[in-house]
């Protein structure tokens, strides 16, 4: 829909909202198809085409097909929700389209086979909010994802988009905006948890007329993808938040730093920028307030350390992304040595709601010191993987079991890892921990950006520690010796432990090196790098000892320490292992017990995962 005129006043906005909402409501039904990266990978773009041509062929012009951002439940994609009833279909393929149109659009029936069926209780659910994955969530940041088409600005405006901006610019002073954000108790979602209002106030108080805003969309934490989904699925909420922030601190330019691997996010943000400029929501004299502001997108180039604020600034300036000494903090001297306020994507997306609905409302959600919600990327060995948004203070057990549906294949839970390479592993005994910034730090983990990775009995904790160190060795910028060399040595020690060459005293040596590296590194990459090692030693010391003293890997992961065999009693001769084995090490007739030729086996563990009867043995 081409919008010709610029919005000069809040009334213009209200009129446009009115039009957009009427247009939306004039449709009898809307079919919302998730077109986030996960669902696209499973074919949702074909669905959009198929639905459109089908509806046209049937002459159903009163039904809208909406290609939306990520709904979160990627694991069951492609997802389709039919409004206004909110009928929820999952795993939809283009061959199902005709059926859906016949039964649920033209008729008033359900397509039973596409309803979500709980793998545990075997119940079927009809409506989105009843599905256990969604039932316990509270969606503030994700308020629009799944409801609007991210490349249609009128969709965003129809759901009260830019109302907060109009309010801030026409009814509030910059100080009042900062007061409101500070009162809401919002803390940075990029990992550190620094109070956002306080950060703004520091930058606001700096002298100088050129200030900058940066949105940190680098999302380097492996296993986390919530910032991506927000940028792809609701780009305007981030832009609106940034514009409000810029008004509050007095900045006229902003940069949005987007991770290299997220081209769809860049594309949707570019479209959003064009549309906002066309409506005068970016540019000169926004809403006649005299305030001018514009945003530029910068693509990252694949370096984890560029998520660190000083590294990111150096990267925007076109250099290698090595962090530098702080202070001076970016708020005093950042981009091109000017005062700069940097916040994470999710932090920015919270701002419009706070201004619109008020600090008190926002502060009523969450715990005493951590307000609002947090989006987690719930992944790993859990049934329902995807993005979940819960109030701060929700327990890990609720997230893993009620929302996540428990462990895959009914295996035993071992740990959850939060905070990515800076975080730690939390054992089963602490499942009732309410998740907020302080509680996680107390147990040796970290909120981080929100990766929540579930591990089961078949996860080796020494291997996990080694994995994170390998990641960090790779990503350390190399500026300081303790981080560069210390992590390298720690990784070498962990490697020898997992290869059966661990020595007595290795655990203590790791702890000692960890202390040096943590204390003497310049930036928080090195500063927090020991966490995965220390937390696994703290809670899973017995696994380290099994590797070192008994040369055993209890989880059957470390290939040098395991030998796979087949339990001939349990083996039903289904042949699944045989099919997957990359070296043809398995032989056997159908329905008769199979066997593994040890001389050919490369201990890859594929059969161990593939066997449905747990007949593969590990020693």
């Amino acid at each position: 829909m081409a919008v010709a005129t610029q919005l000069r006043t809040p009334e213009d906005l209200a009129n446009l909202r009115e039009q957009a909402a009427t247009r939306r409501e004039s449709k009898r039904m809307a079919i919302a198809i998730c077109c986030g990266t996960g669902c696209r990978a499973q074919g949702s773009m074909d669905l959009v085409e198929e639905f459109r041509s089908r509806l046209e062929a049937e002459g159903l012009s009163d039904v809208e097909v909406r290609a939306t951002g990520c709904h979160g439940f990627c694991e069951r994609g492609p997802l389709v929700v039919i409004y206004p009833k909110e009928i929820f279909y999952c795993g939809v393929q283009d061959t199902d389209v005709a059926d859906i149109v016949d039964k649920s659009i033209k008729g008033d029936e359900l397509v039973e086979s596409l309803l979500f069926r709980d793998p545990v209780s075997k119940n079927r659910f009809h409506l989105e909010h009843e599905v256990p994955f969604y039932a316990k969530q509270q969606r503030i940041v994700f308020r629009n994802n799944g409801k609007i088409d991210p490349v249609v600005i009128s969709d965003y405006i129809a759901v009260d988009g830019y109302v907060a901006l109009a309010k801030a610019l026409t009814q509030m002073t910059p100080e009042a905006v900062i007061d409101e954000v500070e009162k809401s108790g919002l803390r940075g979602r990029g990992g550190g948890g620094f109070p956002t209002g306080r950060k703004w106030r520091i930058c606001h108080g700096q002298p100088g007329d050129q200030k900058y805003i940066i949105c940190n969309g680098d999302e380097g934490d492996p296993g986390a993808f919530m910032d991506r989904s927000i940028m792809e699925g609701d780009p305007h909420s981030v832009l609106e938040g940034m514009t409000i922030g810029a008004y509050a601190i007095g900045a006229s330019r902003a940069y949005m730093y987007v991770r290299a691997e997220y081209p769809l996010a860049v594309a949707n943000l570019e479209i959003a920028l064009e549309q906002s400029r066309a409506l005068g929501l970016l540019g000169e004299d926004i809403f006649g307030s005299g305030f001018s502001f514009d945003v530029e997108i910068v693509r990252g180039a694949g370096a984890f350390v560029c998520g660190e604020e000083t590294g990111l600034i150096s990267s925007i300036q076109g250099d290698i992304g090595s962090p530098r000494q702080r202070p001076p903090y970016p708020a005093e001297s950042g981009l091109w040595d000017k005062p700069t306020n940097i916040n994470n994507v999710e932090t920015w997306a919270n701002i419009p709601v706070i201004i619109d609905r008020g600090a008190d409302w926002f502060a009523s959600v969450g715990t005493e010191k951590s307000k609002g919600t947090k989006v987690f990327s719930l992944v790993g060995k859990v049934q329902n993987t995807g993005l979940v948004e819960v109030p701060m203070g929700t327990t890990l057990r609720e997230i893993v079991y009620d929302i996540g549906g428990g462990i895959l294949k009914k295996r035993k839970f071992k740990a959850v890892q939060t905070g990515g390479p800076s975080g730690g592993c939390i054992p089963e005994a602490m499942l009732d921990l309410p998740v907020d910034f302080e509680k996680l730090r107390d147990v040796g983990a970290m909120m981080g950006s929100g990766g929540l990775i579930v591990m089961d009995e078949r996860t080796c904790m020494v291997d996990v520690a080694k994995y994170f160190l390998a990641f960090l060795v790779d990503e350390s910028c190399g500026k300081c010796t303790p981080c560069r060399e210390g992590l390298f040595q720690m990784h070498a020690i962990l490697s020898r432990i997992t290869e059966g060459r661990g020595r007595e005293g290795d655990i203590e040596l790791l702890q000692r090196l960890a202390a040096y590296v943590g204390e003497s590194s310049l930036c928080q990459l090195g500063g927090t790098a020991p966490n995965p090692v220390l937390s696994t030693i703290r809670y899973f010391r017995d696994e380290y000892e099994a590797h070192i003293d008994h040369k055993r890997c209890p989880a059957g992961v470390c290939t040098s320490l395991v030998n796979f065999g087949i339990d001939s009693e349990a083996c039903k001769g289904c042949g699944l292992c045989l099919k997957d084995c990359p070296t043809e090490a398995i032989s056997g007739e159908k329905k008769a017990p199979h066997r593994i030729d040890e001389t050919v086996c490369v201990q890859c563990g594929v059969c161990y995962e593939a066997c449905p009867f747990d007949a593969i043995t590990v020693e």
């Binding site: 996960g38 490349v151 296993g223 993808f225 180039a301 790993g380 591990m455 890859c604």
Partner: protein, 440 residues
Amino acid sequence: MARMGVFICWCGSNIAETVDCESVAQYASTLPGVVVGRSYKYMCSDPGQRLITDAIKEHNLSGVVVASCSPRMHEPTFRQAVATVGMNPYMLEMANIREHCSWVHTNRAEATEKAKDLVRVLVEKVKRNVPLADIEVPVTQRAMVIGAGIAGIQAALDVAAAGFEVALVERQPSIGGYMSMLDETFPTLDCSQCILTPRMVEIMQSKNITLHSFSEVEQVEGYVGNFEVSIRKKPRSVDMEKCTGCGDCWNNCMARNKIIAPSPVLPGEHTPPEVAEKVDAILATYTDPSGMVIGALQDVQREFNYLHPDALVYLSEKSEIPLARLYSVASFYNAFSLEPRGDNIIRTCLGTACHLRGGGRIADAISRELGIGDGETTKDMKFTLERVNCLGACALAPVVTVNNKYYGKMTIGKMMDVLEERAGQDAGQPQEQPQEATAV
């Protein structure tokens, strides 16, 4: 005609548990030239040695093979023993069937076969041995240490302290090596100068050490104990007695400070016109050169499928950004490739979620199938493999992208199908598409 004796030791149960010693002895007896083959519990014991010497006398043996432990352990024992009955000690050799066989194997049948092989080889060797005599040669009691970094300095000091003369050779004008460039040492963060400099002074003070700085070893001849080394002292044209080390001559030296400039190149002179054209087009989209490095490199990579060296040189000349800075940025970020990449770019995710769900196995399977490692390209330029840390679709782990198309919940079987399909395509056509841009 050789007359050989072969003696197999059990070493208690050390060898006998894994190797059937008696059958090795019997096998040995059948080898050509072998007249006696025996096994015994401890060959190194007195009765064991007597077994050998008696056999030499009885059968008039010309050579002996003892199959037992490492020669490091008992070769002198057995050689002395055979000498007592008049055999030249060098006509005895040992087959190591303990460290090289019984201790490292578990399968008794296979280990026994291997022991037989080892014995047979040694029998053939001894048949070709000739009697040798021990001689004595004088050893020069002086040492040379090459390289005067911290390790060389310490070695020279230790040898000198033990009372021997040392010649210490250093290529650079000053000793100290890399350590003199460091501030602190890892992991204790000790002051590195405080460790190094006192030792540098000690080198000068030690009467046993002759320092040859600004010198290089040209040739090494001779053998252990009697080396001949030629050292080339580089010219310094300085009277060492009078020099105070002020450094003025160094700084003012006409020869050293002559500026050697490459012949001037004009932008684009050596650049193929089609490369220059593309880079010009990219440059035209940027106004501010200072902040453009990463973006421009991304554009170059998209245009050429990798960072083409000609394009980088041209970019540097036209934009006046030093080439070194371009390379420094290009090698810092993972997204840049300095090598040509294949038609199909496979990215396997090794992020945490994918690691836990077996992403590594898929990467390994691709490596095995295509014979390429991380960042490498197949010879036919069809495939490049990149292992990356999270593709941002973690809920579908393990994730692989081929030319930016996402494949979730990947298995080795599905991966192989994709490879097969892509391998059938015509070569020379880069397949990577920028990801579909819009949601509509």
